[in-house]
Symmetry: C2
Subunit: 288 residues, 2 copies
């Protein structure tokens, strides 16, 4: 299979799992609000990373699927809360009204809480012998020393102006930690050793920084219709970004450097490992 | 030890664990906001229930302490989010400004997210052989078929007016599920069989309903200074409560019935089991 077919294959497995991920007996509008955001499409990058990492060592993806779903739930919850008026105050996400625009602020808070809880509930139901360790990988990276820590520094940097050190902290935790988590989870479930895990951590860190630089570039150069969200927001809010700090040219160079570093950190030559290398290289296409 | 000494003993163990529960390297103001709410006192009822349930079968409480802390983190996160302007819009909690009043709305959303994440991170770090099962008990009851489901129905009932059936659903999930969870967790960690677990579920369900009835009564008859929060809010907002549905006298009778049912469901005669029976009976004192 070529890269695109491979991505589509992983993504389809994720979509099928997510379609039934929110139980039917969750009361509405909570269940509806959760499904509205969880099933809004998107690239499903994080669960795809998890499945690809798992596939380096294992053939049957089935045992990894609940964990892939859990990672996407955590990602979706973070978007819902991040979009709230008290946070980024966004009204458009993936071309549709954000969760709080569609269901109200209170329900959006609960939909986020519900998705985070459901992520852990879903993993806790797994009978995989390494389920607890995989859950721990996500718990360590989605919380107060991981993604939520990044959100906090992002929120306060908006007030204080920010600088290069803060920006790196934000990119590492707000973005990279939730790319590293699924890689580490997939490998942990698959029974990988420390060597592969270290490669994945290096890959996730560099890919995360690259992605965030690309995001900053697209906020300047991107097209709203293609991106499904408003652009030009960063400049309008005088936000500290890779572009505002280093300029557009340097940002493009740095995006290239970090995607190359990500690709180079994968030493394994299994099909699924080469898929991960290609994924990093492809990310660049959007900004060059 | 008499009941009060026993409660104080469990509570002290919880307080000591909570004091260092938020890691020092969590960025501020996130870490401060989490500690502000987590260390604001309170009865520590849920972790005390966990330790008492564990103590029915085990002597050394140490292995149960991280789980006791986790339950209190989940309880505290739910209070922070529940107090938000988009939810209950409360500005006073335990005699102090609520988290969003002290740290702003965005940071309060993150402090709640952080505490929920930290609860799972804390449990995931345990090396107890039954840690995964205990974590599962909390995950199943704090989320979209448990506490968050109760919050959702509570929030929508405010708009639709509510009725007896909805009120029971809210009490069972918003309150009882987070009392049953620590009991089930404590017993699971301690290696209890299905018999004791069934007693605990019955106890938690009835205690939860009783507590919520008592809360509804205190909102009418209670003293703001003693309670550390505003009273009379329910009537002011025409909220459907046990008192508005059944009247004050019947509510008092029902509180007695449910606390008795809770106490009667514990058949074990270990010291810690008798402590749980007494705890249910003592709850009534506040309203009679």
């Amino acid at each position: 299979m070529n890269y695109n077919d491979q991505y589509a294959y992983y993504r389809r497995a994720v979509e099928e799992t997510l379609r039934c991920a929110v139980p039917a007996d969750v009361p509405n509008p909570l269940g509806d609000a959760m499904r509205y955001s969880l099933l809004a499409g998107g690239k499903r990058l994080r669960p795809v990373l998890l499945l690809a990492a798992y596939a380096i060592l294992q053939r049957d993806l089935t045992p990894a699927l609940p964990f892939a779903a859990a990672v996407e739930m955590v990602h979706t919850y973070s978007l819902i809360h991040d979009d709230l008026p008290a946070m980024d105050n966004d009204d458009l996400r993936r071309g549709r009204p954000t969760c709080h625009k569609a269901y109200g602020e209170g329900m959006a808070v609960l939909a986020g809480d519900g998705l985070l809880s459901l992520a852990f509930e879903t993993m806790a139901q797994s009978r995989h012998p390494r389920a607890f360790a995989a859950l721990g990988e996500l718990a360590a990276r989605c919380g107060t020393r991981g993604m939520v820590a990044g959100q906090c520094v992002d929120l306060t940097a908006e007030e204080t102006g920010g600088n290069a050190e803060l920006l790196r902290y934000i990119h590492l935790h707000k973005t990279a930690d939730l790319l590293t988590a699924p890689l580490a989870m997939g490998l942990t479930l698959a029974g990988a050793g420390e060597d592969l895990l270290a490669q994945a951590r290096e890959y996730g860190k560099n890919l995360g920084i690259a992605f965030q630089i690309i995001d900053d570039i697209l906020d300047v150069t991107g097209d709203e219709a293609t991106l499904g969200k408003h652009t030009g927001k960063d400049a309008q809010e005088h936000k500290c970004t890779w572009v505002s700090l280093y300029g557009l040219d340097q940002a493009r160079k740095d995006a290239k450097t970090y995607t190359e570093r990500a690709a180079d950190s994968i030493k394994n030559d299994e099909n699924a490992a080469i898929f991960l290398k290609t994924l990093a290289q492809r990310a660049l296409v959007r900004v060059q």
